[in-house]
Every structure is written in structure tokens, then in C-alpha cells.
Symmetry: C3
Subunit: 200 residues, 3 copies
């Protein structure tokens, strides 16, 4: 087990928790919460792999990821009151999660031989589309249309990663820098209620 | 033509009818009703095959399934008043349909070499995701978040099928038992307004 | 560069404009508008290729299409006030776009060896599903359930193309006739507020 694999399991676990918690306002039953946790955790990576035609999908090939999701959903069931109060901590974990998955998705797309433009899009999709699919299924306006600088933070991190890579920065420091960049943009945007300009 | 194939055509036909009827409250035109009938009938199996990378999709390879859907939509157009009144009969057919497709989806996933956990998920997806995609497109809260013990019934049936198979029960009796289990759970849940506990 | 390829780039550009403009009532930020422009432009063709298992997807293999989308989104940002007023001109471009993509999608499906029924469905999907996915993500009732004779126009054009092809009409005149047919049906339906009969 490499460090990266452990981080992937942890990221999947946190995505499942945040997906299962997300339905709290809707009076969902246990199955609804488990389903949204599952979709949030596997949606972005699955969409990326389907668009790129890269089979088998990650979670279908590795049953440990399914158990990480089940653990995340179970944690939500058992500690729902505690988790629902930890909004600020959650923002941090959620930002770490989308940042980490954005870079992993970017790397996977590059390894499949696509151009830089497509790799950046695939990185962003990996980070945010699980939440988008969850919101679409539960009839909410998707997070990328609501939240301050959400997908844009992922695009920035992915662009930075490619740039630093081009200039010869090693993989590990590059990942750390770009994850920190995404998290910093997200936290600053939420803290100061920043948003992009609208069309009008 | 095997019995199973005839049942598949019949299941597709009934899924198309239930999908086309589902839009009745929305004042849809003929195309809208045909489209939702089509999506309901092919959505679950298509999602399963796309996730598993199993091509060609069943309905693309077998044009008879398209005609079963057209027949289902035409039936709805011609006998809309009658069908709209047969709510109770429909619940039975709908439950039979999702049960049958759950087991078929589970078997197909197993035949493609996935683990038991993935096969159960794929069986459930085959049964319920057509309706979920239909509800998402027509801006309704998907059936799995509303209805009493809907997807959970499919999960139970799929789990039971694997268990009985493990203990050596033959395919035909196993299918009958598990379809009966799914239908029984559904009908009891509707009859007694059972639902899973919520998170709170 | 063939004429067809230039038309594909132009069609992608106009689809991106119409997708980015579509969010105007929703007070979206720049990212939201770019995202909906992107989804509208690539959604229909991507769904067709995923359903047919035809990889790589067109826009992943050809980065010029991405730049056509970026140009369309940038045009919307710069000339939003002008474009928002050109409703009638837009209806024409939008109708030309869905008509052209319907025929291209139909031809691609045929070239992959599917039956005529499936090819007509794939043509229609190519024309209209980008808009449907956009509307689903932004929580609107999809265009095919609202607009006068929208997808039905595509089905008519696709059916006519196959019929004329069967009777030996050459590709270029056939395309022109069928695109004109789709546009004419759309414009007449909007002009005279035609719609298909409803179920009731």
C-alpha cells in the first residue's frame, strides 16, 4: 500500500461522508443517504473514465473503495449529530478532497495520452462532478453553480500543476503546492464571500 | 425464443408503459411521453453496461426491444384512461419488472467477472436507475428518494440470490424466490406504509 | 479542412453560444455560463458515442473543438447584451445547429453499423441531448418537454434522410433537404405555436 493509495481510500471515505451528510435537509431515509454518499464518492472518477473510455472503472476493479464508501456512510449514520456541527472542519476536508482528486484525475488523463486542455477538464470533472451528479439527482442547483469559486479553484490547481510540471518541478512537491492552492482559493472565497463576476 | 427472452421483452414493454404513464400529471405531449417511456425502459440496463464497459448495449444490438418499447408507448396512448385507473395492478407489474431486471442485471454483471458487491449494486441499478433517470429529466425527486423501500427491496433480492446461489440452489427456483421476495417487500411496504428510518 | 469540418466547428461554436446564453435568467457567474456552454456543445455527441461505445469521443480527440467552444463562450461574455436581443436570429442558428448535428449523428451511427431505428434515435440524441443535459443540470424542465415540436423535428429530418438515401439521393442534396425540413418544422411550430397533442 503506497501513500497515494491510502490517500485515495481516505479521499473516497470523506467524499462518502460529505455526500451522505448533504441530504440532511431533505429528511432522507438511510438508503437515500447511502446512495448520495456513494454517488458523490464515485461520480467524478466514473464520468472521467467513461468519457476517456478507460475500463474497468476504478471502484469496479477495487472492492476496497466500496468498503471505504460503506465506512463513510456508516460513520455518517452513527455520528450524524457530531458531523452536522463540524461545518468548518468539513469545508477543509471537502476542499482537500476535491483538490486531491482533481490532481489524481489530471494525472490519469495525462497517462492516457490526452492533450493538456482535456487533462485539465478531466481533472476538474474528477473533483467536482460527483457532487454535481448528487445535486442533480436530489433536485438541487448543483454546487458548481452556487458555491463561491468552486470548480474554478480546481481549474486553477490543475493549470498550475501542468505549468510547474512543464518547468520540471517533481511530482510530490508539485502535488502539495497545487492542492494547497486549491484549498487556499476555496477557503479564501468562502471566508471573504468572493465570487466570479456574473454575465450582466 | 427462450422463456427468459420473452420475459425480457415483456419487462421492457411494461417499463415503457409505466414510464409513459408517469408523466400524466405534467401535461406532456406525445413525444414527451414516448421519451420518458423509452428512458425508463432502457436507462437502468444502459447505465449498467456503460459502467461495466459491456458493448454493444442490449437495446442497440436487438431491435425487437425497441419495438417492445414502441408497443408500450402506443398502448399508453390508446388506453391512457384505463391504465391511469389501474394503479394497483400497475404496482404489481412495476414490482415484478424491477425484481426481474434486478436479477437479470446481477447475473449479467457476474458473467462479466465482477465481485459479488459490484454485482449486487449493478443488479439494483438495472432495476431502479431507468426510473431515476426519468425522474431526474422531468425534474421530480427520483423514486428511490421517495418511495417506500424501493431500491432496498432490489438490494435484498440481489443479496438473497447470491446467498442461495452460494448454497447451491438452482437458477430457476432461485430467480422465482428472489423475485417473489422483492415483490413481497414492495407490496408490504406500500400496504403498511413502511419506510426506512431517517438520519435524524 | 473540408466544408463539413468547418460546419462542425461553426455548429459547435453556435451551440456553445446558445448554451452560455441560456443561463441568463439565473444570475450565473462566468464559470457557470462557460460550463453550460461546454455541456450544450459536447453533450449530445458524447452521449451518442458513449451509447455506441465509439472511442475516443470527438472533442477529446480534436482540441480545435474545445477552442471553438471557448470562442463561443467568450463571444457570449463580450457581446451578451447584443446576443440577448437577437432572439429571432438565434432561433434560426439553433435550429440550423440541431438539424446539422442530427444528420451528422445519424451518419456516424450508420457508419458504426447499427440498424436504421437506432441510427434515427442516435441522430436525434446528437441534436437535442446537449440541451437536455444542460437543462437537467440547471434544474429546468428540459427543452424537449417544453418546446414546440423540438425533438420531433429532428426525428422527422432523420427519417427523411434515411428514406431519401434509400431511394438513391446523393449525400449533399439529401443533407440540404433534411436540414431545411428540420428548420422549417421548427420555425413553423414556433411561428404558429404548434405543439403535439397531449395524452389527455
Amino acid at each position: 500500500m503506497t501513500l497515494q493509495y491510502i490517500l485515495e481510500l481516505a479521499g473516497t471515505y470523506f467524499f462518502a461522508v460529505s455526500g451522505a451528510v448533504a441530504v440532511q435537509d431533505k429528511d432522507q431515509d438511510w438508503f437515500g443517504a447511502a446512495f448520495t454518499g456513494f454517488i458523490t464518492a464515485i461520480g467524478g472518477g466514473s464520468l472521467r473514465d467513461i468519457l476517456l473510455g478507460s475500463y474497468p472503472l476504478v471502484w469496479i476493479d477495487d472492492v476496497l473503495l466500496i468498503y471505504a464508501i460503506i465506512a463513510g456512510v456508516a460513520t455518517t449514520f452513527l455520528f450524524f449529530r457530531v458531523i452536522a456541527k463540524l461545518r468548518r472542519t468539513f469545508l477543509l476536508f471537502d476542499s482537500l478532497g476535491i483538490a486531491f482528486f482533481t490532481i489524481l484525475g489530471l494525472e490519469k488523463a495525462l497517462s492516457l495520452g490526452v492533450t493538456a486542455e482535456i487533462a485539465v477538464i478531466m481533472g476538474m470533472f474528477t473533483g467536482v462532478m460527483g457532487g454535481v451528479i448528487r445535486d442533480t439527482l436530489t433536485n438541487e442547483m448543483p454546487v458548481i453553480f452556487r458555491k463561491e469559486v468552486y470548480a474554478t479553484a480546481c481549474l486553477s490547481g490543475a493549470g498550475m500543476y501542468l505549468t510547474l510540471k512543464y518547468f520540471g518541478v517533481e511530482r510530490s512537491p508539485n502535488m502539495l503546492i497545487c492542492i494547497a492552492l486549491v484549498v487556499a482559493i476555496r477557503l479564501l472565497a468562502v471566508r471573504f464571500k468572493l465570487s466570479l463576476p456574473t454575465l450582466k
